[in-house]
Symmetry: C2
């Protein structure tokens, strides 16, 4: 690392991306399909990989998956850490770690998730076009792809 | 889906992205750090999530991880399927499923992996800046993040 990276807090563009990322997790934490709908771009090419799920493609499929997850969840608590952000023109991507505590009818789930979120700036608003989330193991035991 | 999506085979720009994606998997299949080095952008902000690993950041960390994986692998066979691609300006991203058969000193591993690969066009060449790969379960048993 030759130069210190931009502090996103002081870069207005990156701060906008981070705000969009926070809106995504606020929608998730509120279990709100309506808020989730405002975060995503509604196109047939947007993509979503929930932990352990196959790829979902198109806003309709993505919306239905959130509705299903929210319908099965009584309460959720999210903490977002290790956030990094990069933008290039009208595209930006955020990597972060989600610590998710959720309660269902039958109990609790506690998970650490690595996420990559891609945003596209559309009419001046950063909107989510790809969410790839995958479980982090409790212990660090690397595997080969 | 209102309109049929562009056929990437007939869009020269998307075909270039897909060619870069194929070069990435060719490097992987050849267990070649040198080829892998030619595929990635060498910046301290590039990112890589191997299945079950924590996020690696910066080309040095990413390069070391491939060297470690390649050093522990005797042979690998990769098949890439369900490829979709989207470009927006100088950024493009590819989703695909990797079917990976690998042999180690102690045996075989067979895995299905969902990958999201982000490319940035740099001096006219599409280079990998983010690889997020995560295991797909053998059975479709959705989980909540």
């Amino acid at each position: 690392m030759d130069e210190p990276e931009h502090d996103p807090e002081h870069d207005p563009e990156l701060e906008q991306v981070l705000a969009a990322n926070r809106r995504f997790y606020a929608a998730f934490g509120a279990l709100s399909v309506e808020q989730m709908s405002a975060v995503w771009l509604h196109e047939d090419w947007v993509q979503c990989v929930h932990p352990g799920w196959q790829l979902l493609q198109g806003w309709e499929e993505v919306r239905e998956s959130w509705a299903r997850i929210f319908g099965n969840t009584q309460r959720i608590q999210l903490e977002i850490a290790s956030v990094s952000v990069h933008a290039e023109g009208e595209v930006a991507w955020v990597a972060c770690v989600e610590t998710v505590l959720s309660s269902f009818e039958r109990g609790f789930d506690h998970a650490q998730i690595q996420a990559t979120n891609i945003f596209v700036r559309h009419d001046g608003v950063w909107q989510l076009v790809s969410h790839h989330a995958s479980p982090l193991p409790p212990a660090e035991e690397p595997t080969v792809q």
